[in-house]
């Protein structure tokens, strides 16, 4: 019953991470995001030229699909833009109504929102995202992706501290607010 959206920059630095409020141990999700990045990195590499490889067109899609085989708890999806901006989405495994196409559409919408957000001249590309409208958008996505059991759909916001020398998720300090 979990849900989490992560947006990472070209150097894998976290730009925005949102975790659904009824998650007990958000740290776990940060690790999940972290390891998912490796898979994204691997999947988005240019393919070695193997003659007759299956459906090359599909593999060049920005949407990377399911990153791991489904586990009992969660499913992790990935998306990597041409600018190497990455987005990761974690949904609960029990939510079987979500189809691949819907996930794809959702990533597309996120990407549109992101590309609008970086039009803001006062935002420096590659820095953690503070845009209120983008935060609201991601919140609404988390809410819309129906963790139906949520009584009170307020979200924790996660503030990140980004350490120069540790450009990965391990360098994050979490401040949880309800």
């Amino acid at each position: 019953m979990a849900l989490c959206i992560g947006v990472m920059g070209a150097e894998n630095q976290p730009l925005l991470i949102k975790i659904s409020p009824n998650i007990q141990d958000p740290i776990k999700f940060h690790f999940m995001l972290h390891s998912a990045l490796d898979v994204v990195e691997e999947k988005s590499q240019p393919l070695p030229k193997t003659p007759g490889s299956i459906s090359g067109a599909d593999l060049r899609e920005l949407y990377l699909g399911l990153l791991y085989p489904s586990s009992d708890e969660v499913r992790v999806y990935g998306y990597c833009a041409n600018t190497r901006m990455k987005m990761i989405l974690i949904v609960e495994a029990s939510n079987t109504t979500l189809r691949d196409n819907e996930i794809r559409t959702m990533f597309r919408r996120l990407h549109v929102a992101y590309s609008n957000m970086i039009m803001n001249p006062f935002y420096d590309v590659g820095q953690p995202i503070s845009s209120k409208s983008f935060h609201d958008f991601v919140d609404s996505m988390i809410a819309a992706f129906g963790v139906g059991k949520l009584v009170n759909p307020t979200l924790y916001s996660v503030e990140m501290e980004y350490f120069e020398d540790v450009p990965t998720l391990t360098g994050i300090r979490l401040l949880l607010r309800s």
Binding site: A10, S44, P46, H111, V125
Partner: protein, 201 residues
Amino acid sequence: MADAISGPSYLYNLLANELSVALYGDLDKTSENMGALTMMTIKDRKAAAAAAGPSSSEAPVDTSASARDSDTVFPKLESIGYQVGQRLIERLTKEHARFKDELDRMKFVCTDLWKYLYDKQIDTLRTNNQGTYVFTDNLFRPLAFFSAEGVDQYYPQSGRFIAFPCGIIRGALSALGIRCTVSAKVLSVTCCVFEVVVERT
């Protein structure tokens, strides 16, 4: 024809050109500074263009020559271009399949990006396969504003119009993961050549 532009496209060109004025400040003062550039006769220049090693060092107007007089303004114009290129590319590549390789990205800049910016593609793209790419635009719109074949009176000042597009190219490529330096030369009245050198690490 270069004049078949109107509406937002016209306003954009005006803004892009006005950028240099906004940063250069007083126009008359600028012209004086720019006058320091050596002026060549058309004949000399045509010869230089014909000899056209795009990497030839004796092409008459290039950023470095102009930069002598406007050390501060060129980097600023370039950095505005960089910001624009970097942000723009996110929008333009949203629906684009993942790029295969470096050349694929270069092609994108020459076709889609250029078309978006100037309503035409780069005319030729050449590479030495060692990280140097040369884009040639024979009718570069910002120059076509006031120059045409045989009309070259503003040629000495044309250097100020190339810093911004250089920045756009650098920004776009950097967003696509290619770190590079971009320089440009105006070869003949409306022909502009951009040289992209990829930084190898």
